[in-house]
Amino acid sequence: MPAQSPEERIKNFDEVNLGYSPEIAFEEAQRCLGCKDAPCSQSCPVHVKIPQFIAHIVERDLLAAMDSILEDNLLPAICGRVCPQENLCEMQCVLAKKRQPVAIGNLERFVADSTASLRSTREELVTKKLSGKKVALIGSGPASLACAGDLVRLGHQVTIYEALHTFGGVLIYGIPEFRLPKSIVEFEIKALQKLGVMFEKNVIIGKTITIDELMNENGFSAVFIGAGAGLPNFLGIPGEELIGIYTANELLTRVNLMKAYKQESITPLLSYEDKLVAVFGGGNTALDSARTALRMGAKKVYIIYRRTSEEMPARKEELIHAQEEGIEFIYLAAPIEFIGNKDGWLQAVRLQRMALGEPDSNGRRRPLPVSGSEFIHEIQMAVIAIGNGPNPILRNTPGLKFTKWHTVEVNQETLGTTLRGVFAGGDIVTGGATVISAMSAGRKAARSIHNYLMT
């Protein structure tokens, strides 16, 4: 995938990956063997018919390729960019055993980007028979967007409620511009609006309106909860209240949602210029935070992770991008205390060396502290990116049951909650996961909601 050079891109927020030229795309598409059993497609959470859409690229029929993708995936421009293909479709590609797998994600992105202008001029929805049923979707992230796309195509009247002032959930506040341009998210939202999906911002369900009121006063026959996992975890060590320590959510919200990277933005950001920055965590959010800090002028950015690169949950491509940009990785180290000056500003972090022990229940080797290995690492800024818990706002909804992990309890088959007519999916059910798994849950819930409404 052609990309901006590391020297250039660390000075801007423009997208790093530049996308395929038609020549590269056609060449790459020809590598696909068109396997009948399509192991790639089977491992895709939404089962995009991958060999079919790639065959259309080979035929130079990009609109047919796009139509094929859209049958299963409503947000290909987004998924082509942020899906962990290396663990899903591309991992199952038969070519992966001997050589490089077909770059399915890059091709998906190529199809979506090169047909975007054509798509916007086409009338997508041939007037469907309307069901006359109203469905409310809580949150406007990937789970709800996918759910809305299916429900509206099935003839239901869909309203998405968003608490923030911009639609897209984590796609807007979380994933940075340089990885997922916000214009793409806006394009997809507009496409849904054209299909008839209604979007209401600045409404927080559970506070402004309750689920009970949606169903009993506002005429909704079903509700989908796609509120996501946005409650940041803390390390639980002394000094986390010091100035200069952000959660990844705060840094990313200030920069992405509030546009603090733009000169004219009014939302302030503590200065990263010429600072030493440590980011704690090993997922995509940690890498996004580190690369954001770098672009905000940091002198040096460290990613400090308890395990090694082998166990890092981040996407490999992003890891390579981060390394190219000069991010330094400190593996097998965990923070045990933040140290500040008398005015409460962060000065350093006390770290402890770790060693890998036996695999835990998830199969990842557990990090164990090495006694007597403490050392002090000088930093002026820190970002905590160790995951998020489910959003807490709906927790006191009468009749809605939660698990001990504070996720919404659902029937795994239907995604129905303990409240009749109320379904849930995405990170609010699974805890922090991926965009594509949230979309898959949104689609699954849409099928259940349709069944519920029509019986």
Partner: protein, 285 residues
């Protein structure tokens, strides 16, 4: 959701009282809750405590001191203008029960934050003793409103230009000294004032609630920017608060965190060359 300004009054230098039509928020509002709003679609998200709501009219009252870029932008809006983004009501409502005698303490614009709680506690049958204060006569707000709901009202100014000279915390101390007994104290205002109140009431073991006003971004529990140390645990003021047990709050770290953006904010104010332009007619109390 459309939020329209239907009344704007200047009630003190740089302090404005807005009545905003926002029926869903007004309907749900309970004492102690706040909104997050953006006066322009380019502004910061700013949290503001709701002073009161008129459910039948579908309006809420906000008291705003124009000190930063976004609050000045808000102060520059006028009757008929729409606020593009307004979210609420946020935060946990105040605990309203019958306690007996409750002292309500308000300092500066915090006086507005404590009003709704005072009113609700009065309705719950409590005897209300209010202590409100300001820098000087001009800055004193809501005296009339407080006199309506208070069984006793003490008014103070730092310079003695109106009411009694001194701080609200000194008045509280004096009341204890002359033998007043309180079942609960509720305070809202500058952190240093709330800290002083907490120190005094701790000696007398009076349960004390403070309404915290940290820097916030989303207001819905997502960023952790508003975190505070309460009982040595990290809390999110936006979803766990804004009211907390004053005797458990680490005021020092909160004060430092609240000052963290002071330099950036004053630079932004300068860069934006934003002035408070006073438009339209409004009454000065």
């Amino acid at each position: 959701m459309v939020n329209t300004i239907i009344e704007k009054l200047k009630i003190a230098p740089d302090i404005y009282r807005f009545e905003i039509k926002t029926p869903l928020v007004a309907k749900k509002f309970k004492a102690g809750q706040f909104v997050v709003l953006r006066p322009l679609s380019t502004s910061e998200r700013i949290p503001l405590t709701i002073m009161c709501a008129d459910k039948s009219k579908g309006t809420i009252i906000l008291i705003v001191k124009a000190i930063g870029v976004s609050t000045i932008q808000l102060a520059n809006l006028n009757v008929g203008d729409e606020i593009p983004d307004l979210l609420g009501p946020l935060g946990r409502p105040s605990e309203i029960n019958f306690y007996g005698t409750v002292v309500i303490i308000g300092g500066g614009v915090g006086t507005a934050a404590s009003f709704a709680v005072a009113e609700a506690l009065k309705k719950a049958g409590n005897r209300i003793i209010s202590i409100i204060g300001a820098k000087d006569r001009d800055f004193l707000i809501l005296e009339e409103e407080f006199s309506r709901i208070s069984d006793e009202l003490f008014v103070l100014t730092d310079d003695g230009s109106y009411g009694k000279k001194g701080f609200v915390s000194e008045q509280l101390k004096e009341l204890y000294h002359i033998g007043y007994k309180f079942d609960r104290v509720v305070a809202a205002g500058p952190l240093v004032m709330m800290q002083a109140v907490a120190t005094i009431t701790r000696e007398h073991a009076t349960p004390t609630i403070v309404s915290l006003n940290p820097i916030m971004v989303d207001g819905i529990g997502m960023c952790g920017g508003c975190r505070a140390l309460v009982g040595e645990k990290i809390v999110f003021v936006c979803v766990d608060g804004p009211e907390f047990d004053a005797h458990q709050v680490d005021f020092e770290s909160l004060m430092r965190r609240n000052n963290a953006y002071r330099d950036i904010e004053s630079r932004k104010l300068h860069e934006c060359r934003i002035d408070l332009q006073l438009k339209g007619d409004f009454r000065v109390e």
